[in-house]
Structure formats: C-alpha cells, structure tokens
Amino acid sequence: MEDKYSGQALAGGGVLGPVDVPSARLTRYIVLLCFTKVLKAVGLFESYDLLKAVHLVQFIFIVQLGSAFFMVLFQKPFSSGKVVTKRQWIKIFKHAIVGCIISLLWFFGLTLCGPLRTLLLFEHSDVVVLSLLSVLFTNSGGGPAKTRGAAFFVIAVICLLLFDNDDLMAKIAEHPEGHHDSALTHVLYTIIAFLGVADHKGGVLLLVLALCCKVGFHMASRKLSVDVGGAKRLQALSHLVSVLLLCPWVIVLSLTTESKVESWSALVMSFVTVIFFVMILDFYVESICSVKIEASTCARYGSLLTFTSALLFGNFWTHPITDQLRALNKPPHHESTEHVLSGGVVVSAVFFILSANILSSPSRKGQKGTLIGYSPEGTPLYNFMGDALHQSSQSLPRFIKESLKQILEEYDSRQIFYFLCLNLAFTFVELFYGVWTNSLGLISDGFHMLFDCSALVMGLFAALMTRWKATRIFSYGYGRVEILSGFINGLFLMVIAFFVFMESVARLLDPPDIDTNMLTPVSVGGLIVNLVGICAFSHAHSHGASRGGCHSNEHSHSHHGHSHGHGHSHSDHGHGHGHSHGASGGGMNTNMRGVFLHVLADTLGSVGVIVSTIFIQQFGWLIADPLCSLFIATLIFLSVIPLLKDACQVLLLRIPPEQEKDLHSALEKVR
C-alpha cells in the first residue's frame, strides 16, 4: 500500500499534468476508511450477540431509532434545507419501506449464518456488484480480467454453499417449527425450509439476494437524494420514517410476546456501539470517502479490510481471551463452536478478496483489439472493431418468434423440433418424477436423455442454418453445414457406442445386480417416445427421398441438356461443385440421417433394456444385460459407418460415386 502511494506521489510530484490529490491526504482518508471498516465488523459481531437475546424486529427498531436520533441531531433535516414536498414525502416513505425490508433480510441472514459469513457476503460495494452483474448478464463485461473476477465471486459463493460444513451450527440452529418468535421469522423460515436447504445455506442465499436488492436500492435512491437535498438528509428522514413504520409492529410484538431480555439497561452500551459502528460512522465515512477518493479505490480497501477483520474476529471473537477483555456484566460465551471458521470459509474469503480487487479495478476499455489468430505468414491478426459489429440489438422474444417461424417453415426442421419438444417433455417429466420420488435411477436417466437431446439440438440448428443466404465468407451458401452436422452426429454415435461397449465389457466380467422394478416403465416410456420419433423421421425419410429424387432428376436433366447443347466445350469442373452440395447419400440428407440414426440408437437402447429386464426377471440371467448392450453397441457402430463414410466423402471433395460414371462418359465424349 505504501509503495503504491509513494509511487503515485513521485508520479504526481513535480510534473505538470492533471492535478491530483496529494497522496498524504488520500492516505489519511484511506486509514480512516479502514478503521471504520474494522469497527463495522466489530459492530456486526456485537449485533449478532445482541440478536440472540433481542427479537429481530425490536432490534431493527432500536437501531433505526438510535440512528434516526443521531442523524436528526447532526443533520437537522427540518430546520435547514429546502422544504420537502408532499410527493417527496411519499417517495421517502417508499424509500423507508424498502430500506426496512433490506435491513430485515440482512439481519435475518445474520442470525442464520453468523457475522463472519454475513460480512463476507453482504459488505460488497456497489461498484463490485455492478460490474459483477454486468459480466454475468451482459456480454460487454470488459475483458477477461472481469470475467475472472466474476468467476471468483461465484466460486466464493459456491464455496460457502457447498464446502462450508457448518454442521455444528446447523445442529444448534435446529429449531422445532412453531417455536419462532413472530410471524415474520416463521414465514422466512418456512420459505427456506421449502427450498430444501440447510439454514445457513438459506442464509447465504438470502444475503446474496439482499445484496442485489441493496445495490438496486442505492441506484434507485440516488435521484431522490438529489431531490431531497443530499444523501445525508434523505438518510435521516428515511430513518425517521422507518422508525414510525416499525413502531406499531414493535408495540404489538412486545404486548403479545414476553421478552427474553432480563435488563434492557445492560444492553444499552452494546446497542450504542452497534448504532455508531454499523450505521452512523460507516455511513458518514463512506460518504466522505466517496467524495475524496475514487470509488474503485474505496471499494478495494474497504472490502479488503472488512474481510480480513471479519476473518480475524471470526477466529477470536468467541475465544476465551476475548471474553476476559469484555465487560464483566455481559454473559460469557458458552457455545464457542458456533459459526466457526472452516476451510471453506477461509477459501471463500480469499476468493472474495480477490474478486473484489479485480472487479473494482477500473476497466481498461478500447485499448487493444482482441487477438483472433495468425495469418499464414505468422503475423498476429487483431480485431479492433469487435463490439460495434457484434451488437445486433434484437429483443429476445422477437428473436425467439422469428426463429420459431423459421423452424416451422420447413419439413425437416419442423419434424426435428416437434420430436425435440416431445423428448424434452419426457425428460423433464422423468426428472421431476425422479426428484419427487427421490429416485437416482430416474434422475440419471433423465440426464442421459438430456445428453441425447444435444444431438437433436445440433441437428435442428444445422437444418436452420442450411437455409441461410450465402455470404461473402460462405460463398457457396451454408449447404455444407448439414453434412458437417451429420458427420458430428456420426462421431457422437461412435462415442456413445464406444462407451456402451466399454461399459458392457466391464459388466460382462463382473455382472452387477440390477434393480429391475423401476426400469420397465421408464424404458417403455422411452420406447414409445422414440417410436414416435422413428415414425416421424421415417416418414421424413420417404418424403425426403421422393423430394430428393425429384431434385436429382431435375439436376440430371439440366446436366443432360447442358452436355447436349454444347458438348464440345463442356467441362465437369463447375458442376462438380454444384453436385457436391445437392447430392448426398441415399434419400434424405446427411443431417436427417444422423438424427434418425440417433433416435434409432435410443430405441434400440430401450428395447435392449426391456429385453434384458424380461430375461433377468424370468430366468435370472444377469449376463443378459451386458450382452444386450454389447449387441446394441455393435449395431449402432455398424449403422453409423455408412453415414460417416458418405459425409467424409463429401467433406473431402471427392467426386460423388453415383455420378462418377456419368462424368467419365461425359469427359470421354468431350475428348
């Protein structure tokens, strides 16, 4: 840090140039900011302890009351500044409601997953979150660095969700339903329980949601704060209004439930610390720093200090030594195993620090083009106009509508599309049913179906692309896409056959026990779906064949006439190209053949499952299953070879075999 600033001082020292703030003054603000962040961490830890004793809504009420009191005292919103109009009051009212909801979520998350995780998740500045969202949801993120930062952020959250085995805490926080203090917490608990995640994981999700809300809230309240006359004045008024809002609720609450607090006077001190550290000091210092320092620097130092201090406090807060340092009138911490540090938390804290650092750094835009490759001579090629050309602003619904229309226009793509829909519907029914009955076999079969659907999607896309107009780069049009997709589908089937083969060989050596109860209905369903597909596609087969025949007839006609008309000068060259597009295997085009073979392979699979199930149930031959799959694998493999061969021949620019003889004779005539 110091190095950096001395460097800046050197750079900005005696040189004429843009006037920079002297670094000494900057350092002062940064130190102030860091100090505040540490204190804020202290305040949050303190408020977690308080929340064990005090009800959530009461706590928020008291905090809001205290901060409203001090803010009104400092800012004097009524005696100074413009008069607040009625419309602005309504806006302030809304502002206060949203603010209350966000702080409710925040502190509820705090009770769920502890102060350390709350600090890690919630204390991100707006800059970081905004650039994160722009990377995640728009394409113009700003280079690979930002993408990395976003990936780190996501990894950190996932670490908190998956690798943070906070089991001890989950055990403590186990709560019988109905024990909750109020309707609100009860509702929130039910929602989290409904989502089916553990409490602290629910807290993590809640805090992420609250973070997004907070950033949106800050964005939205910016205009209002200008209208009212400064963010501070708005804050003071908003606190005041929210106190008024919460007041009836708190009164009802304190009348209906008996308080767990023995003496409120003992808590005054801690409430004051929370109010000062979490609300007031942080707010003022942040508003000062945002004026004096750049937002990015501010965010970087703030998050760094918050996270490190959170880690430190997380380790030492419940430590016995700290208990001795505390005031004596407080209850000592008994359960020191609550929300402890775990490996996952440390890793995610590191990732959070990194991502905050990366995401808050100002993006360098438009400096250089992206390297797109090398020319044959070895000089690198850069693309400088990147963004401007790629942006074709088309709204999503419209795009979907257009592409649907295109899909339904032609026979092939329509068939694939309908079958894809059917397949997907079956898959999702299977998946949902599998989740519902908690059956792993069903779910994994559903994943398998999804895997198969990818081939269909590719076929559909190829069928769409084939009809695109020829461009400068694709000067022959997109006809070959179909062949390429057929080729890829063939490779796909080869891979599937290979894996099935390997698996069945492994099972042949060591036949496992198979639970056949669940298999039959699923495979029968799959068989029905695939049979529908086969019917559709074999219809397409005949259809395509007749049409293809017509087509080739026409072609050969023109060919014929051509060679007759001016037989002397005719050459095969240009026509060789023309044919290489239109002419493909027998009947339907390569793409449709690939898709058809895929569906056929699936059907064979379900037939195999049914047959082997019958064998196993009737005769108890466990070996029937691997034998069946071995047979199927060979069948798939053999049926793919002609497809691959044809596609290869076209792609390799071979003279089409069926026209080879004609071409030869035509050439002979010319000579």
């Binding site: 993408t147 490759g373 994943f447 895997f451 894996f499 008309g565």
Partner: protein
C-alpha cells in the same frame, strides 16, 4: 443377406487399402517415431484407464481423455505424412490435403464429445458422490502430464501446430495472457514464453494437472470428494474452451469458406483483374481453403467480344496465382454463349503462360490510356446482348441454361459489390506474401511483370 455380403466385401477391401496405405507411410523414417509414440500412448492410456477405475475419480478420467486426444493427434500427424506422399487422383481431383483437415476436425470434435460425456457423468455424480481413493491419483496425473508434454514437445505435429496458431484464442489462453501480461510487467524476460499466447495444448495439460493436484490435496486433507467432480467439470470446460476454436477453424475449412484474413487481398486482386483490358466483369467468384493454407478458387470472367480470351486468361491467372494456387477461370464472351473454360491446375497454367508469353500483346499497349478500358463504362452497354437469346437459329436448351445461370450471377455480383465497399476489408488484413507491391502498378507495366512472374512461377 445380399447387402450384408456386399458390405463385408467392401469392408475387406477397405482394410486391404488401409494396410496398403499404412505400408506406404511406414516406409518413411519419420513416421517410425510417431508409431513408437503411439504405442507408448496406448500403453499409457491403458494404464491410466485402469487407475481411473481403481481410484474411481472422474477428474482423472477427464484427464485421461486428453491423453487419448494425444493419440488422435499422433494419428493426424501420420495422416499428414501420408498426404504429403500422395498425388491427386482422378477421384480426389483436389488432392488429399483435406484428409488432414478432416482428421483435425474429427479429433477436436471427439475430444469435445468426450468432455460432454464427462459433464453428463459429473452431473450424475453431483447427486450421489461416490468415494474417491487417492492412491494412484497423483501418480496417474504426473504420468499423464509428463507423457503429454513429452509428446507435444518432441513430435512435430504440423497440422495441429498450424491450427493452434491460426485458430482464434480460447478463453483459457485469454485469461492466461491477461494474467501473464501483468506478470511480464514485473519480469519482462518471461514475455517470450507467455505472450502473445501460450500453446493451447501445453496450457490445458498443465491446467488439468493443477486441478488434479488441488483435488488430491483437498481429498487428502479434508475428504471433500465433491472436489473431484468439480475439477472434472473444470477440466471438461477447459477442454471445450481449447478445442472449440480449433474445431471451428477446421470446420470452416471443411465448409469451404473464404478465410476472412485474405478477403482484403482477394478484393484487391479482383479489382485489378476487373480493370484488365478486355475484362467486363468478374463474377461468381468463390475462394476457399483446400487444406491448411492453400487457397482454391473459381472465377467467371466476362470479356469484350473483341478481346483475346487467351490473353485475358493468362493475365487473370497470373494476377490471382500469387494468392490462389488451384484456380479455375471460366471466360465468357459477350455475344455467343460458348464459354471458354480452362482449368488451371498449376502445371497447365504454366504451359499456357509460356505459350502466350511470346504473343506481342496488342491490347496491353492500349491499356496505357486508362479512361477507355475501365470496366465501368463498358458495363453499362453490355447487359442487353447477354440476355438476348431469342435469336432463331439457336438450340433450345442453352437458352434455359443461360437464363438459369445469368440471373443469379448478376444479383450475386451486385450484392458482393455492396459488401466489399462497406468495409470488411478494413477490419482485418495483413500484407500478403507479394500482393501488396504489385497492387499500385498500372496496367502499362504489366508485360514486364508478367514475364518476370511467369519466370518466377515454376514450382511443382
């Protein structure tokens, strides 16, 4: 039964053919090394697959697939040797260069399909995480890593080296380049290794090994078995990222597309061609890459009725030959339909060039005054004769043909015109091998250049 019998027969002949070709390749000394590496690779893959099933780790399986991909790349290398030996046959009239491209495409696509399989498997594993035994995990990782690196660095794999240079940057490379740019700011010496981008295969091997090491550590320390699945997903995604640009590049070659970086030069050459004396318009031009780096193309040139088509043909091929090695030029004359077509596989073109070199070339002197013979004024007067085929004495079928051909051509050309001007050429493009120096010279200097380049041309 008949079909099956037939199929068997073709299969056998295929095997025989393959054996024959294999013997052809194996005669070369360089391919022994590759065969040796392939054998070691097979052993290594077998060993790794055994360890995969003993550790039950899907991340190691994903890494093993990279080793299998190495095997494919060795096969591709063999194919490229084979391609170098083969001459164009009557059936494969463009030569066998495309086998190389197809092999690269197939192996990258297979690697991606393997990664897709891994993704599917790991989605199933997320539901029910099996236990991983770390016994052979690290050993397998290092065996695979060293073998992969050894293969990459010791075998000179021409097609993959070319594709990895020419394809666009993968996201993995992009991130590494971005990181190393800041590292090289501190230590400038490293920039020769890391910048502008690393070899993608070396990169993915190292990154995958790193992921496996992290997996090993976390499983050893804390028994986080889910890390194995996560790192398998990471390796699969990295495989996708690395292979995707390459398969896009080779797929575009297979789709017969014009490589974007030569479009600028091609436009320049075509403009030059269209200003040649006697040329009215150039249309229906198709250029595509045959193998890696060799361009093929076909052009239709319409010439004035008093122009000497052999002259024009010689000039057009001369111009385009610098860039396009396999060129087909079809020459149309205005009033009669008989198109003079000459295919110029290289030897032929040289023949015709040396034939016409001796001709005193009267039209070229006329080119000195540019106003008279630019293509634009001539164009305005030409369309009517092209379409007036209703002269009585003609045969019927040519009319059909000419109509069918002429309309799209005209449309296509105007379309192309609009696009050329609009600036595709300004974005990309580097100076070509020798096209730039000639581009500004007027047509008057053509004879001398023509002679010179005709002399420079004789290569096989």
């Amino acid at each position: 039964q008949g079909t099956i019998h037939l199929f068997r027969k073709s299969q056998r002949s295929l095997v025989g053919k393959l054996a024959h070709e294999f013997r052809l390749v194996a005669a070369d000394r360089r391919s022994w090394k590759i065969l040796l590496f392939g054998a070691i690779n097979l052993i290594c893959v077998g060993l790794l697959l055994m360890w995969c099933s003993s550790t039950n780790s899907i991340a190691l399986t994903a890494y093993t697939y990279l080793t299998i991909f190495d095997l494919f790349s060795l096969v591709t290398c063999l194919i490229s040797y084979w391609v170098m030996m083969k001459k164009p046959s009557p059936v494969y009239s463009f030569g066998f260069e495309r086998f190389e491209v197809l092999a690269v495409f197939a192996s990258t696509v297979l690697a991606q399909l393997g990664a897709l399989f891994i993704l599917k498997e790991s989605a199933e594993r997320f539901l029910e995480q099996p236990e991983i035994h770390t016994g052979r995990l690290l050993v397998g990782t290092f065996v695979a890593l060293f073998f992969n690196l050894f293969t990459m660095l010791s075998v000179r794999n021409k097609p993959f080296a070319y594709v990895s240079e020419a394809a666009s940057t993968s996201w993995l490379q992009e991130h590494v380049a971005d990181l190393s740019r800041s590292i090289c700011g501190i230590i400038p010496g490293l920039s020769s290794i890391f910048l502008p981008r690393m070899n993608p295969f070396v990169l993915i091997d190292i990154a995958g090994a790193l992921a496996l090491c992290v997996t090993y550590m976390l499983i050893e320390i804390n028994n986080y078995f889910a890390v194995d699945t996560a790192s398998a997903v990471a390796i699969a995604l990295m495989t996708f990222g690395t292979m995707y640009p390459m398969s896009v590049y080779s797929g575009k070659v297979l789709l017969q597309t014009t490589p974007p970086h030569v479009i600028g030069q091609l436009d320049k050459l075509l403009r030059e061609v269209s200003t040649l004396d006697g040329v009215l318009e150039v249309r229906n031009e198709h250029f595509w890459t045959l193998g890696f780096g060799t361009l093929a193309g076909s052009v239709h040139v319409r010439i004035r009725r008093d122009a000497n088509e052999q002259m024009v043909l010689a000039h057009v091929t001369n111009r385009l030959y610098a860039l396009v090695s396999t060129l087909t030029v079809q020459i149309f004359k205005d009033d009669w339909i008989r198109p003079t077509l000459s295919s110029v596989p290289v030897a032929n073109s040289i023949l015709s060039l040396s034939d016409h070199h001796v001709i005193p070339m009267p039209p070229l002197s006329a080119t000195g005054n540019p106003g008279a013979t630019t293509s634009t004024p001539a164009k305005a007067s030409t369309p009517p004769p092209e379409f007036s085929f209703n002269t009585p004495g003609k045969h019927v079928s040519p009319v059909l043909l000419a109509n069918a051909q002429a309309r799209p051509y005209g449309l296509g050309f105007s379309h192309g015109c609009a696009r050329y001007g609009s600036g595709l050429s300004q974005g990309l493009g580097t100076p070509g091998p020798g096209a730039a120096p000639g581009s500004r010279t007027g047509c008057a200097s053509a004879p001398s250049r023509y002679g010179a380049s005709a002399r420079g041309q004789p290569r096989p």
